[in-house]
């Protein structure tokens, strides 16, 4: 999307909505693991095994869409590599039908669970002011009581077309982080439902659109390369590096599951960026861990760490 901003590519609405589905599924997959792992660290293993089944279902949807399960690679400049197939939509429907009951049950296991509440309330707390100073974003910042969400503040990918709430906590402790993530999953579910409905409303040729009309940045389908002159030319140009990106610098950020995921790109023309830097939310807020656990019990430190949701692959990207 940063490239699209740099190039000024306008994506079709259907692409935006499909992207929203993918991104919200990812958010659910992330929050599921995070919240259930907090449970595991408190000694409740059941929830983790139970929701894993539905994370698996999300992976299956990804698998249908792009072939990969975790490292999804379907995004292209201007859209997707190919259209979603019917099985992907069927699996999505299955997910939308079965998941709410599961999430409800998961919620019942934890939310008012006395042991869980006593373990999490008041531990690993951070004030809104300190959280901002530490550069917190995403659910961790919202749990501290700051209603900052990029999906609302600087909408991308047509998020402005959707109705959803931003859950906000008050104390910024482990329990609030858990609640915020839990509530966000319900909101994501509702966003996916809305997006899926919007996707279904496209009729005729519009219902087949899966990328913007930017042949210079977009490899044509292989079948076309063999049969159509134009597609062959574009294929050749892209592979041989004759398409160029304008020089400029751009910063774009999205509300990833963990917070503000930013991409700072400097282009000097040509094919590859001069400088590309990621702002990884994990890296930024992990610094606060020391302050969060100071003076608390060792067992609380473990829970605090899981409730911050640190992803190693994100830390050192």
């Amino acid at each position: 999307m940063t490239c699209e901003k740099l190039l000024g590519v306008k994506t079709p609405k259907r692409v935006d909505y499909l992207r929203v589905i993918i991104m919200e599924l990812a958010r659910i997959a992330d929050h599921l693991i995070c919240n259930s792992i907090v449970g595991v660290d408190a000694g409740a293993y059941t929830g983790f095994l139970y929701v894993m089944q539905y994370r698996e279902l999300i992976y299956e949807i990804y698998e249908e869409v792009c072939g990969a399960r975790l490292t999804t690679n379907i995004g292209r400049i201007g859209g997707f590599e190919r259209n979603f197939n019917d099985i992907a939509f069927q699996k999505l429907e299955k997910f939308l039908k079965e998941y709410p009951a599961v999430l409800k049950e998961f919620e019942n296991l934890f939310q008012r669970n006395r042991i869980f509440m006593e373990r999490t309330m008041g531990t690993g707390a951070i004030s809104a002011e300190r959280a901002l100073n530490y550069g917190f974003t995403g659910p961790n910042l919202r749990a501290a009581g700051v209603d900052f969400d990029l999906r609302v503040h600087s909408p991308y990918s047509s998020y402005e077309d959707f109705q959803f709430n931003i859950p906000v906590g008050t104390t910024g402790d482990n329990y609030d982080r858990w609640l915020v993530r839990n509530q966000e999953m319900w909101q994501s579910l509702s966003i996916i439902e809305q997006a899926y409905q919007k996707v279904q409303e496209f009729k005729g040729a519009e219902a087949e659109v899966y990328h913007a009309d930017v042949p210079e940045y977009y490899l044509p389908p292989k079948a076309d390369v063999y049969t159509k002159m134009e597609a062959l030319i574009w294929h050749f140009k892209i592979i041989m590096g004759e398409t160029e990106i304008p020089a400029g610098e751009v910063y774009h950020s999205i509300e990833a599951a963990n917070g503000e995921l930013g991409f700072y790109l400097i282009s000097d023309g040509g094919r590859s960026p001069y400088r590309l830097h990621f702002r990884r939310p994990c890296f930024v807020y992990y610094q606060a861990f020391e302050e969060l656990i100071k003076g608390s019990m060792l067992s609380d430190a473990i829970m605090t760490m899981s409730s911050l949701n640190l992803i190693a692959g994100e830390l050192d990207a």
Partner: protein
């Protein structure tokens, strides 16, 4: 009232005169630069000013421009005013032989690791940083890997002909 880029620029020029320069607005984000000794003063002003309130540090990173003699290394700050939802980009340039820039850790706790990362990859010496050590690379490393002196491709390979890839 929303804060406009024009207004921010005006406030900065009022305060710092011609020491802030290079105003640009690539893709809507106000970008400017200042001499490296000024970086803390500018950041403090942006933080404290009752109108500007750039109190959220989004990102710090470095860039290496080997062709700009005397100004090879850039430190880029991305700041965010959460109340008005305005972002700005602020750069300082330093000489590669003496890349000293004041640390922003006193102002933003978040700057701690961001500066360590920038030091790690570009060798920018943040003066006054509490713990300026490598953070992602191994400690024994004696070079700064993201400087442009390291070519992207393995130079020992002879089977790749740039001519054939349109880069000759």
């Amino acid at each position: 009232m929303a804060l406009s880029n024009e207004h921010i620029k005006q406030r900065l020029v009022e305060k710092f005169g011609d020491q802030v320069s290079g105003f640009e607005e690539p893709y809507g984000m106000l970008t400017f630069e200042a001499p490296r000794e000024m970086n803390l003063k500018v950041l403090n002003f942006l933080y404290d000013d009752a109108e500007l309130k750039f109190r959220f540090l989004t990102d710090i990173t470095g860039v290496h421009y080997p062709d700009k003699t005397g100004q090879e290394l850039a430190v880029v700050y991305h700041l965010h005013n959460l109340e008005d939802n305005v972002r700005i980009r602020f750069k300082v340039f330093a000489n590669v032989n003496q890349p000293d820039v004041y640390t922003a850790t006193g102002l933003f706790s978040a700057a701690n690791w961001m500066e360590r990362e920038t030091f790690d990859f570009f060798g920018i010496n943040f003066v006054g940083h509490p713990n300026l050590k490598r953070i992602l690379n191994v400690e024994e490393m004696d070079y700064f890997p993201l400087r442009k002196e390291f070519p992207l491709e393995d130079q020992t390979r002879i089977d790749k002909d740039d001519e054939m890839f349109g880069r000759g």
